[in-house]
Symmetry: C2
Subunit: 609 residues, 2 copies
């Protein structure tokens, strides 16, 4: 009998694991037209339960890929949080309600709640339109990185060898495939196989808190089931999250005695099912009533582990993202968001390196940016979980958590939990200079939204919509007042310098590429009034199309706009702001400092081979 | 040879003509699950040119059918109008720019410009999803209404007999079909065959102005090609309308001598093509330059005729709508809008009559409401066209049109041209009483938009989104302050009366219909503050679902809301507002005047047979 030949193939990027991180990564790379494959051991997608909260910054990220509209249509939006605490007459009472999102610059001042399967379907449908499908029932059985330094240094090489095994093929057909990949992204969850193959340790600890989760359509007289509701009672804590289709997610704090088998000292799922959890929830919610109208739609139990991987990358050829790098409690609604934003941070860097537009060293900023975030997240989660799981302050328990204390933390960390305040430190991808030229935004943070008026037609445009995740750097040219002769001269001089062959705009160009610059998109934002403005006055570099020139003016209805310069802290002298493909501010320069941008881009960009 | 048998069929509604009016009508009836067919003599849809402007009220109507999002995605939005007038140094100069839409209550403060074919495709795709397709290449060859009074009076009868002929069937197959319809809607354009069969006269006159129209992608140094631009020059007037995909529509005023054959005295299309029109436009736009980059995409010539049909209905069984009832100039962008809104006005009335929910006499309000509108439109169009086509005021021409005069008219008629100010007079469908209880809105006008806060989750909701074209009447219950015991007693007493079997809510109900009232949707709008509000306090009639209760409060970001009662002019005593299925205010009553609503609905509503 002939020995079956194992098929071999090459791919630019192999993504292992089709949860939120993996799907986000594969979809983003598909958007960038990178040759990508994604494999998943499960036979089908998630259909219920699991993660469900999409934070404001993540909605902005969805929007940058053109998929936020569907997310918002299918999900419920959570606008308000309600806090319940022990009542002096027994049971619980409403202490206060606050906005759910405390982040003044959030474009979407709410969370979207939707089951993970529906969120994953959004990524999958977007990918499918780009020709990429998840390969289900497929597991990696071995992974090796070449030890040949030359091969590792060569951007065109495929130094990662992965053996894949199909679990669902008929007997007699090849079950194995050897894939040679330029890059492998391990997004295979908290028990990551990829992470284990490279002996990456998870640093951190198991917490002492055990929680149960259940989804239902409730029958209740509790008035806050459509708000996010944080209940502290003398019987334990409960977190309620409203969901699509009138559903409710209920998180219940459990006691060790309820769930640990005293004989073994381990979690015993036989001791606790949804009926038992519901009983616990009912005690905490008393005097309010709660019943599922059509049974339990999903439920699970978990013990919080708060851990971060010791590294996120092997040789910048195998990278891990999502739950593979960090695990924490679901209480602050961060899990899926952290995963999606890991992938968002990683995808453009891989895409630029694969295209040969960036030096592979750019990939090191993935670990430096996202591991620091993960450590911050764990630290926050520890504090938040402890407060939330802690006993309430009462006359008997003077060390308990006071309602004000918990709410203060909730508000204080709004920028963090919304994802809006995430900050990346200096690196080749973040040039921390000239912050004073735009004091209203922060280098290393996402570019905040604001509406400007398009000069040609007075149409109001949200500036974030000019910053799509299209893998180009955006150069926002704040010209100041072009009718001021001094400022006009500065702008014209800047344009002359940028048009030189050695400027960053031109030095990386492959001349055959046609007229549109594939790497940079120039957006002009002027001071001015729509009633008399002539956008044709600008040099053509600053108006490659009529839709590229904006003025900082109020809209035609007089409702908004006109304060963009002051919102961003840009003065009459203007500024040049380079925004990365992921929407983060990479560098700021004065109009007469084009060489600072030359230096910024030279730190990681290269001419295509 | 056997004589071929002519197939016979029955249908509730036959729509003849698949332009904007016909497609709107058929789509609306399909939404209402009415058995409808639509036939069109052309073999395919329109692909370019023709009408292109969707006015603010029409966008609201699209939104009420769930199709505005696509319209806004495919079209360009026109926000600003620019006015050019003769310059003292020769040529033209910018006089001023103003908002294109002058209607403060417009939900969409812009026009959508898109070619008619794309607009029709939106209707057709919506219809197709509901199982209705246009039957192309099909003409009616005869139409007769029964003369039998009993048949005409019987709502279940099919008294209109139409012979249809298919133009594209292979020889030997039946080309004819006899259709027996309950109702026929003639939407077959300015030369309406339906209208002619019933000898309905068109009253009005031909104007003396001849215009040319052309579509192009322009190469120009004129700064206002992305605004609607109204140019008065000493060489004639030009109207520019920006279009999707960088296109520009150019309307050019022509002189009789350019276009009339002196031998025959008639329009001679040989004398004027797009090249000649472009020459005329260039003279008027001098010193600015204008060239098509890729040729002319579409062009036509027209002489304005301003006429209105003497009646819109035969026995309330055959009704005509759109260009079949009114023709006028395209200058004010009203043609397609008038047509779509005719159909919107008619569709719900036909649907309710076909369902047996309304007396056929309700259909008489179609003619009374829409013919008056058409007469107003013609009167406006005459004045506007004359001003726009008139010579500018100059030293030589002291009777010319002054720039201020034209702009004043433009602003003054903003409510009319936007469609926002359309007003229907008293009839069985408009009860003109108790206006003072809601002085900020107008009985007989569309319910204006405002954002309220949903009580259960603090989500901001545009009230117009609670008034979809779902063929139900909406009852807006402004409760006032429910925490005031006096007001609470009034509300409870009102609820008790409404729950009686003889109240309008119950008297028309077929008991087998299940729990949701198929005819009425109750929406509760209370005074209150989201931080402490408990929506469960309301009687269940006022909260059939958690999403039905709203408070007049500012949103969680503090950006908007909280002035709805004062905006609508509703006092602390509250009000009951009945909104028709087309979004127009039908009746207003005090909380203790439920019997006024009983009387309103009794004037046209009946129990289903």
């Amino acid at each position: 009998m002939p020995v079956p030949v194992v098929p071999r193939s090459e791919v630019d990027v192999l993504v292992i694991g089709a949860g939120p991180a993996g799907l986000m990564c594969a979809n983003a790379l598909a958007n960038a037209k990178v040759n990508v494959r994604i494999v998943e051991k499960r036979a089908v997608g998630v259909t219920a339960g699991q993660a469900d909260g999409v934070a404001p910054r993540t909605i902005e990220v969805f929007q940058s890929y053109g998929i936020a509209e569907r997310l918002m249509k299918e999900s419920v939006q959570v606008h308000q949080a309600a806090f319940y605490d022990p009542s002096s007459s027994g049971g619980i009472k409403l202490t206060s309600r606050t906005p759910d999102v405390i982040a003044p610059s959030a474009r979407y001042p709410f969370e979207c709640a939707l089951h993970q399967g529906a969120i994953q379907a959004i990524f999958m449908d977007s990918m499918r339109a780009l020709g990429v499908e998840v390969e289900w029932s497929t597991i990696p059985t071995s992974i090796e990185i070449s030890k040949d330094e030359n091969e590792l240094m060569d951007p065109a090489s495929h130094p990662v060898r992965v053996v894949l095994q199909r679990l669902d093929v008929p007997e007699g057909q090849p079950q194995e495939e050897i894939v040679h990949a330029k890059y492998v992204v391990g997004t295979d969850g908290a028990h990551s196989w990829v992470r284990k193959q490279f002996d990456i340790s998870m640093d951190g600890e198991q917490s002492e808190f055990i929680w149960g989760v259940m989804d239902m359509v409730p029958d209740t007289d509790f008035p806050d089931v459509r708000n996010k509701c944080l209940v502290h009672s003398n019987n334990g804590s409960v977190l309620l999250v409203p969901r699509e289709q009138d559903r409710l997610r209920v998180y219940v704090q459990l006691e060790n005695k309820d769930i640990i088998n005293p004989a073994t000292g381990r979690v015993d799922k036989e001791r606790m099912g949804p009926d038992e959890m519901l009983e616990v929830a009912r005690k905490s919610l008393s005097p309010y009533k709660l019943s599922p109208t059509t049974g339990f739609l999903w439920w699970t139990l978990y013990i919080i582990g708060q851990r971060v991987a010791s590294r996120f990358s092997i040789e910048n050829r195998v990278l891990i993202a999502g739950d593979a790098c960090h695990t924490h409690s679901p209480k602050a609604g961060q899990g899926m968001n952290a995963s999606i934003n890991d992938a968002h941070n990683l995808a453009w860097k891989i895409a630029l390196v694969v295209r040969g537009w960036a030096d592979p060293s750019l990939l090191s900023t993935y670990e430096s940016e996202r591991r620091k975030f993960a450590l911050d997240l764990i630290a926050f989660d520890k504090m938040y979980s402890t407060l939330f799981s802690g006993k309430p302050l009462t006359e008997e328990n003077s060390h308990g958590v006071a309602p004000e204390q918990f709410m203060e933390i909730f508000k204080q960390f709004g920028a963090f939990t919304s994802g809006i305040g995430v900050h990346y430190g200096p690196s080749v991808a973040i040039l921390d200079r000239n912050q004073g030229l735009a004091s209203g935004l922060a280098i290393g943070e996402r570019f905040p939204p604001y509406k400007f008026i398009r000069a040609a037609d007075a149409g109001p445009v949200e500036i974030q919509d000019l910053l799509p995740a299209d893998f180009r750097f955006k150069l926002l040219v704040f010209t100041g007042d072009f009718s001021d002769p001094l400022q006009q001269a500065r702008v014209k001089s800047m344009v002359a310098i940028m048009q030189k062959p050695e400027s960053f705009l031109n030095r990386y160009l492959t001349p055959s590429k046609g007229s549109e610059n594939p790497r940079f998109d120039i957006i002009t934002i002027s001071k001015g009034r729509k009633e008399g403005f002539n956008f044709l006055q600008f040099p053509t570099l600053l108006r490659s199309h009529w839709s590229k020139v904006f003025i900082d003016d109020i809209d035609v209805t007089g409702s908004f706009g006109g304060k963009g310069y002051s919102y961003y802290g840009v003065g009459h002298e203007g500024a040049l702001i380079a925004v990365r493909p992921d929407g983060y501010v990479g560098a700021i320069a004065p109009l007469d400092g084009v060489e600072e941008l030359d230096a910024y881009f030279a730190s990681f960009m290269k001419t295509a081979a």
